[in-house]
């Protein structure tokens, strides 16, 4: 059942008609305009024949336009929804990726630091008597530090730090070739240590001399491998 609701008729002006498919009675609406009056379809037919024809065309046209507009808006909304949902998924996914990258960095630093003291660039080998594990040759490390540009990115950590803990010295004294007997901190790479680090205890040995006699001197130290959080 099709019922047409006539809205406003202004004399000498355009006619607007909105059609609706609805079950129920015809609805008539009166606007509070002095020059307005309510007409039914037969009355319109009698009074304004031309208006009837054009109103019919307008009705069909605006109906179609309205539908297309609705559909376009709907499609835009659906597209927008998918785009937003996609962005949300990507954000969640990539934040997870960052987390797992950081986890891997942490694990790398943890596993590396336990073995770093035994790697050839650090290890004492048999230079101080018998073969020792977790022993770092300070003389070799100082030479490594002097040539560190060659070893950039070699251990895949942001920095490696060796800190003497016994005998204890007040404050941080960076070691160089001049003071390396009386210092307590060796940063393998010159960059600042940022992010997180993993440490393990080592013995730090070097050749020293007393009254012309050479001897092996070993101290307690901590070796740390630091990594940046992604």
């Amino acid at each position: 059942m099709i019922k047409i609701v006539l809205k406003i008729v202004n004399y000498g002006e355009k006619i607007k008609m909105i059609s609706r498919k609805k079950k129920g009675q015809m609805k008539t609406k009166k606007l509070k305009t002095s020059k307005s009056k309510i007409l039914t379809v037969p009355e319109i037919s009698k009074s304004k024949k031309i208006s009837k024809i054009s109103s019919f065309h307008l009705s069909r046209k605006s109906k179609g336009q309205m539908k297309i507009q609705q559909m376009a808006f709907m499609l835009m909304a659906v597209t927008l929804f998918f785009v937003l949902a996609g962005i949300f998924i990507l954000i969640v996914k990539f934040s997870g990726l960052k987390e797992s990258a950081s986890e891997l960095e942490e694990r790398n630093a943890m596993l590396l630091v336990t073995k770093l003291a035994n790697s050839p660039e650090f290890a004492c080998g048999s230079a101080f008597g018998s073969t020792r594990i977790n022993c770092v040759d300070l003389d070799k490390v100082m030479m490594l530090k002097e040539n560190i540009a060659k070893y950039k990115g070699f251990w895949s950590v942001s920095n490696i730090e060796i800190r003497k803990i016994y005998p204890k010295l007040e404050g941080d004294i960076n070691c160089n070739l001049g003071n390396y007997n009386e210092c307590n901190l060796i940063r393998i790479y010159d960059t600042l240590v940022t992010g997180y680090d993993m440490s393990t205890f080592i013995s730090l040995c070097r050749k020293d001399s007393f009254e012309g006699e050479t001897y092996d001197k070993c101290e307690l130290a901590i070796i740390s491998a630091s990594y940046e959080e992604k």
Binding site: I68, T79, G86, L104, N108, G125, M143, K207, E213
Partner: protein
């Protein structure tokens, strides 16, 4: 009138179908891309995990270490070796079986301080990894060997020390007797149907028509288990590192001289460093070994040992 109405509805439908199809296409395209990205991420993550898991294979006192690696799906581990830059680079590329197809990934996980010996790629769900230290004459690095659980190696007529070592490794795919069909036959002093021939006394391995030279057991295993290109590339990388470590010991010798700890190895270490850095192929290893043995003898008699 009906016809015009029909046309209007048709246009609306047409519009909806076109836009709907575009949305569907974009959604499918995005989903496919996302799946590919996810697979690539997974491959890269596994590659990185493997590279991290190689850290514990670093040896101290041990003559060898073994471990296994089990992955949830059928995986190919591609071994990529590069000799560029100062130390060269070790790369790992992972490809996993997904819906019956190997994922196509080009994300290579690279690291500098590891030396991995394997065929061009190893395939399977379970892998054996074992490592052995390499000294020349001081420790240079640990060589890491990757083999697939499914690929068996049969060592025929192996010398006693090698036999004992293989037994001690207890690696399921290394056999010294009862060779199954399809196993790679590694013959030491003669044998029939040999895939790989090892001349232990002359220090070379013959496989696929190529001769690979070695200087110790660690490089012998490397030659047996690797493709020629990978072996030669890794040998060059190891020698690049050996050259740098020799330089480090030379600098150390000068540095500790101020404590009265004199070493007369400066010249020899410099020669070793230069020779090692300029190595072209494994055939030059024997000359480096002679040099290394000479240096080792001298160091062992020093009051202040450098290593």
């Amino acid at each position: 009138m009906n016809k015009r109405g029909y046309l209007q509805i048709s246009f609306a439908w047409l519009f909806a179908i076109v836009v709907g199809a575009v949305i569907l296409f974009l959604a499918i395209f995005a989903a496919t891309k996302l799946i590919n990205t996810e697979q690539t991420t997974q491959d890269a993550k596994i590659g990185k995990e493997i590279s991290i898991l190689l850290n514990p294979l670093e040896t101290s006192f041990e003559t060898g270490k073994t471990t296994s690696l089990t992955l949830p799906v059928e995986t190919r581990i591609y071994n990529k070796c590069k000799t560029n830059e100062l130390f060269g680079k070790q790369g790992i590329l992972i490809s996993q079986k997904s819906f019956g197809k190997w994922t196509d990934t080009n994300i290579e996980i690279e690291f500098v301080n590891k030396y991995l010996f394997s065929e061009n790629y190893v395939e399977g769900e379970k892998f054996y990894l074992f490592s052995k230290p390499f000294d020349l004459p001081f420790k240079i690095t640990d060589l890491i060997y990757i083999t697939s659980y499914s690929k068996k190696y049969c060592f025929i007529n192996a010398p006693e020390p090698i036999k004992n070592e293989i037994l001690a490794l207890n690696q399921g795919n290394f056999l010294i007797s009862d060779c199954p069909d399809g196993a790679t036959r590694v013959c030491f002093s003669g044998g029939s149907n040999c895939d790989i021939e090892v001349n232990y006394n002359m220090s070379y391995v013959k496989k696929d028509g190529a001769t690979l030279y070695f200087v110790d057991d660690s490089l012998m295993y490397a030659a047996i288990l690797s493709d020629k290109n990978i072996y030669e590339c890794e040998v060059k990388r190891i020698m690049q590192r050996a050259g740098n470590i020799a330089q480090l010991y030379k600098d150390k010798a000068s540095f500790i001289a101020r404590t009265g700890c004199n070493s007369n190895l400066n010249e020899e270490l410099l020669t070793l460093s230069n020779t090692a850095r300029n190595i072209k192929s494994s055939s030059e290893l024997s000359s480096i070994r002679v040099l290394a043995e000479d240096i080792d003898d001298k160091n062992s008699f020093e009051d202040c040992k450098l290593w």
